[in-house]
Amino acid sequence: MSATIVSLPDQSTARIPKVNFITKENGLLSWLLTGDHKRIAILYLVSLTFFFFIGGALAGLIRLELLTPQTDLMATDTYNKVFTMHGVIMVFFFLVPSVPATLGNFLIPLMIGAKDLALPKINLLSWYLYVAGGLLAIYTMATGGVDTGWTFTTPLSTHYVNTNVLTTGLAVFIAGFSSIFTGLNFIVTIHKMRCPGMTWFRMPLFVWAHYAASILMVLGTPVVAIAIVLVALERTIGIGVFDPTKGGDPLLFQHLFWFYSHPAVYIMILPGMGVISETISTFSRKRVFGYTAVAFSSVAIAVFGFFVWAHHMFIMGISNYAVLVFSLLTMLVAVPSAIKIFNWTFTLYKGSITFETPMLYTFGFMGLFTIGGLTGVFLGTSGTDIHLTETYFIVAHFHFVMVGGMLMAFLAGIHFWWPKMTGRMYPEKISQLAAVVTFIGFNFTFFPQFILGTLGMPRRYASYPPEFQVLNVFSTAGATILGVGYLLPILYLTWSLKYGEIAGNNPWQATGLEWQTQSPPLTENFPATPIMDHEAYDYEWLENQKEKEVASVG
């Protein structure tokens, strides 16, 4: 464990560059009116963390309530509101924007050698929309909450609850536009702003993954927007489109909802996969095994992702033939994920591996995402879906992919690019500890839920039969550990802002263009437009560069 690739400049002489995007302008307004993608990424990071901890606190409440079989901590009504808000905040205000809006925003222009995203003002607008939506969601929670579940299933959401469905819907609608604008911005940037020499197949896989996710954002999100508009109209004036008593079909809502919300899980996971491609290459000093396969598997996930949505409705009375088709397509969409996992594994082969924190999170991701992905196949298979759907199995599956996969990837990315964003290193030992604690806590929390699901414990239950208690106690205990695992990074990362070691340009000896400029970067990213004259992940090129540098200095 002692070997490391970290090479920091001499701490006694090193200074954070005087001119960088953070110091360029001062004052709150210079942040609130900025067009700089890096500053917007920081704004996103701060607000995302805020929403993550609200969502996390709600998750804590859920786990506490489920410690005992009875509804003793809170009434069922409160419990319903708590898990609904947990879902809404975590899905729409954390997972969807997490990696794209922070790391993607910060890094895509840097990685492709551009000065900024193509539409800086739209980028800022998208942050404002995000914050407006988020605050509206918080306001909703403060003024009575909403208890429809994050899926807003009709006719429950239209006729049978009298909580704040409208404001929550509006919050999601607004957040949807934020996500559309982010995705649109990425696509335009990746198409039009690449620096000379940056061909499609020289782009880092992080950019490919974001490109795929952006396609989903742009094409999927508007469909959920119209579904929410129709729900709002149904609630306010009673149009009958989803109302069975007026001849509407409530399943149509689910079709429209899942047309977005299934691709949405790929919006969440694809950028995470992008992060993993970067870290695994850097820490094994090797080009990603099968670069093209990984790149195309991202696009394949995006394309197939649009054709599998009805697997959320297998038992809901859709046509059995449709079940066949959607189940088959679901099997197809599972394959690109398997391809990615194996390619990452073989990237390690004959590498020169070190185990810094981002790499530990990466291993966590690979293990947990493999489990999450494989259990997804259980649910995509129409037969077993009957038994497993709507139980804790699906909760566990979803959290393995989203928390075990996406959040691990997010933390891997945050640690990996922290030196680039702030110019300072995070403390290595304690962060390795945090990574291990997170991994252990996560498994304790969510693995028992697979068993609970197989036993048949339904999701969204405030109380449950007593024989499920043991596993629920395990889960709650694990959640406590997990909570510590998430608090630690907040503390030491904040600490490192002032006391961290100076990182220098390229502490990891990584090859991406973002590492070839100063940290934190200039507002214009590069002193001059860079030229990409080598393939992605070309460590020999990096060696040559270093030799040249030494030679020229000498």
């Binding site: 094409l219 149509l252 054709f307 009805a310 046509s319 033939y321 449709a322």
Partner: protein
């Protein structure tokens, strides 16, 4: 790569007002045609004719008014993508509704 070339390909091709006028005329003719067709009893072909005419109208608006005919491959691909996903949404959803009545479950 090709993008640099694309950029130059998409260099402003200014569509002449004559083309616009012809397109405008065609749109008017098609509008008259579709209104007229709706008064004729054609059975199943009534909606088909109406949709077909609407598609033609939309196509010429996209090609000429929106300059797609003179635009880069990327724009054409974008239009195609939109159309594809739109049809996927409608087609796959309708597939469920149509096949619900099949067989006895």
């Amino acid at each position: 790569m090709t993008d640099q070339k694309e950029m130059h390909e998409s260099q402003h091709h200014i569509v002449s007002p004559v083309t616009y006028a012809i397109v405008f005329g065609a749109l008017l003719v098609f509008t008259a045609l579709t209104v007229g067709a709706s008064y004729v009893e054609m059975g199943i072909f009534n909606p088909i004719a109406a949709i077909l005419i609407a598609c033609i109208k939309a196509m010429i608006v996209v090609l000429f008014f929106m300059h797609v005919k003179y635009s880069s491959k990327l724009t054409k691909l974008t239009v195609f993508c939109g159309l594809f996903t739109f049809l996927a949404l409608i087609g796959m959803t309708l597939a469920d509704y149509i096949s619900r009545a099949w067989g006895q479950w």
